[in-house]
Subunit: 207 residues, 2 copies
């Protein structure tokens, strides 16, 4: 039984490894050529796999994009969960924002995010899929802010949805701008972003 | 002489009108399919012109993109010039930001901006062209902020480049997010953005 389990997990792990390789190759291709521009041939070449081998894992480009969307969703969930910790909401919000910006600094991630943003504005299945992930994260953050407003940790009379939308927009923009603006290092962005979050939410602490 | 002048200006105006029609069709195609995805055939069809007629105005897709970049540059210059007026810098900055956001609400403009942002991260001629326009606007705004810091209108000890980068990122992000987030109307964004600009720049007025 033990032997079969090990053999089974080795098979799963080899399949997982190939799946991982395809997804990484696809992310690079989508970052470079866009969701519409990148072809399955390009992804096969980048993954160093034959079309036959690749199609065993993903029957279409849409299936690959769907798998990437699932990964991004898990990642977004993990990052917004940062605000569930202990301590001041402002501290947790800035940790959450910086975790997101640091994640986006990984190679090809900002280009992929830019492509996701562009596609989210288009009325396509892919666009709607990514917009739904964003809305899920927004509602999670909104609930945390509403709790904090009820506790008096942020201004009771602020326009919560407008403030949250502007802060999420600032993070969207930073994900892209931090790549080409040499001034936007984590260490220099953090204090500005902290002042901005405090001001948007009218928290007592603006330190 | 008068007759020739009038006839001449009519010819110019008909040519201008055709140029305008091509550029508008191209903007719509690039917004929909991206710079790489859109073809000259697609642009001809959208402009309702034959390839022969279109090529008389623009010899290549690159020439069309270059003309769009020139238009965007002029528009950016006009918008950042808003901060040269009278009154408090904070008032002029918020007017400048809102003028930019209102401009971007025009049909297809946000999709085109998203495409420009995505392309700016790519190491391509088009990407570099749009990045240069952004840097020109940034340096113009930076000079105005440095003057205001010297006058004591904004905090003397703030990290000017980081603050400006974060504020520009917030506007980049809002251009896109305002299209799909129904809470982000001009009237609701303005007070949040005003608090945020004041906090980023540590201006005395945070009203």
């Amino acid at each position: 039984v033990l032997h079969r389990e090990i053999a089974g997990s080795e098979i799963v792990s080899a399949a997982d490894e190939r799946r991982r390789r395809i997804l990484e190759a696809a992310r690079a291709c989508f970052a470079r050529s866009g969701f519409h521009g990148a072809s399955m041939q390009e992804i096969c070449a980048a993954a160093k796999m034959s079309p036959g081998a690749l199609y065993r894992y993903f029957p279409s480009k849409e299936a690959i994009i769907e798998a990437i969307a699932d990964e991004e969703r898990l990642c977004a969930v993990q990052i917004v969960r940062e605000i569930e910790g202990e301590g001041l909401l402002l501290d947790r919000l800035i940790d959450c924002a910086m975790a997101y910006l640091d994640y986006a600094r990984q190679p090809e991630t900002s280009e992929l995010f830019a492509e996701i943003n562009a596609e989210s504005l288009r009325n396509t299945d892919i666009g709607r899929r990514f917009k739904a992930i964003d809305e899920e994260a927004r509602l999670f953050l909104r609930a945390a802010l509403a709790d904090a407003a009820a506790r008096g940790e942020i201004g009771r009379d602020i326009d919560l949805d407008a403030a949250l939308g502007v802060l999420m927009a600032a993070c969207d923009g930073l994900v892209q701008r931090q790549i080409f603006d040499p001034h936007l290092t984590s260490g220099r962005v953090r204090p500005v972003l902290r002042r901005i979050i405090a001001a948007a939410l009218e928290t007592p602490d603006r330190g």
